[in-house]
Amino acid sequence: MQDISRDLLMQASKGDMQAFEEIYRLASSFVYSVALRIISNADEAKEVTQDVFIKIYNNLRRFRFRSSFKTWVYRITANTALNALKKNSKEMSRRAADYDVALKAKDDRATTTQAIEMDDNKKLLSSLLDMLNPDQRACIVLREIEGLDYKEISRALGININTVRSRLKRAREALLAHGKRGDRP
């Protein structure tokens, strides 16, 4: 996520809509991407994104700059997206069946066009994330897609660093175990 200046936050907290729109412009792609990867559903990701920014707007006056604004946004985003996912339990029981197809598609992509390649990447990504439970998924998304380090993930999710580490380990074990089926003889 891009840096957001203290001045901009101060202005927005006084009700300056232009300033708030600028904050939205700087942070919305992070919020929407994370929500989309965690929930795997565009409509719900839109709802989560709206929800996150309404929460930010309503609480901006109470934000006292003791922590970084980024961390605060990471945290609200992760919480809101995870709650939406956990509510939607059917998302959690997705089968691993798509995985082989998607992994094969990735291997074959050298022969495909750019557009199909993009599509395969998207499919592969969501089938990989579907292997994981919501908590592992959130860790992987923040780590691999958003590039947060362990400390940032631990703050975003309100868990300690060792829990971050063990969730990433379990997530990768799951990815490796399922990946074995994708190997050719």
């Binding site: 708030f20 729109e21 939205y24 919305s28 792609s29 992070f30 919020v31 929407y32 991407s33 989309l36 990867r37 839109k46 994104t49 709206q50 929800d51 920014f53 309404i54 929460k55 707007y57 309503n58 609480n59 109470r62 934000f63 006292r64 003791r66 922590s67 605060w72 945290r75 992760a78 919480n79 809101t80 995870l82 709650n83 956990k86 990735k106 990447n121 592969l124 990504l125 990989l128 908590d135 992987i140 780590r143 691999e144 897609i145 380090d149 362990y150 999710l157 309100g158 868990i159 300690n160 580490r165 990433l168 380990k169 997530a171 990768r172 074990e173 990815l175 490796l176 990946g179 994708g182």
Partner: protein, 152 residues
């Protein structure tokens, strides 16, 4: 360093770049001489790390901002009247009387646009009350339990 420890670190700190340089070099040394651990490292990169590196940032559709604007356009608090000069006090009193009449109407007319408006507002505030601070805890490790520290 033994294989068990190396594998443990490969799965986490090594691929995530969280290791101290000296420990990282020790692992690299081990990988150079241990095909078992090297196989794990290759599989890990191919199946659990590289696929995510292609992920792209997605822009939120315009409709999202429209929805946010609509939701926050509703004033959060009742307007406060500040009377700075006596000349304005008459206007303020007139405005108060006018508003009193407007807001008293629902008590006399049961179904009018004003009633609906007031009801909508009440529902909206009820929604805000539950939604605005909806940091529901996760079932383990208490996700969000320390959120207050950001608000104080």
């Amino acid at each position: 360093m033994n294989c068990k420890k190396v594998k443990e670190l490969l799965m986490t700190d090594y691929v995530d770049g969280e290791l101290r340089p000296d420990i990282r070099s020790k692992i690299k040394e081990h990988l150079a001489g241990c095909s078992d651990c090297r196989t794990l490292e290759e599989a890990l990169q191919r199946k659990a790390v590289e696929p995510f590196r292609n992920a792209q940032k997605v822009q939120a559709p315009d409709i999202v901002w429209e929805g946010i604007k609509d939701a926050i356009a509703v004033p959060e608090r009742a307007p406060v009247f500040i009377i700075r000069r006596p000349a304005f006090s008459l206007a303020a009193v007139a405005a108060l009387i006018f508003l009193t009449i407007i807001f008293a109407r629902p008590f006399f007319i049961s179904h009018g646009p004003v009633t609906e408006y007031v009801q909508e507002q009440a529902e909206f505030f009820a929604y805000l009350d539950t939604g605005a601070n909806g940091f529901v805890n996760g079932e383990d490790e208490g996700i969000g339990t320390a959120i207050e520290e950001y608000f104080l």
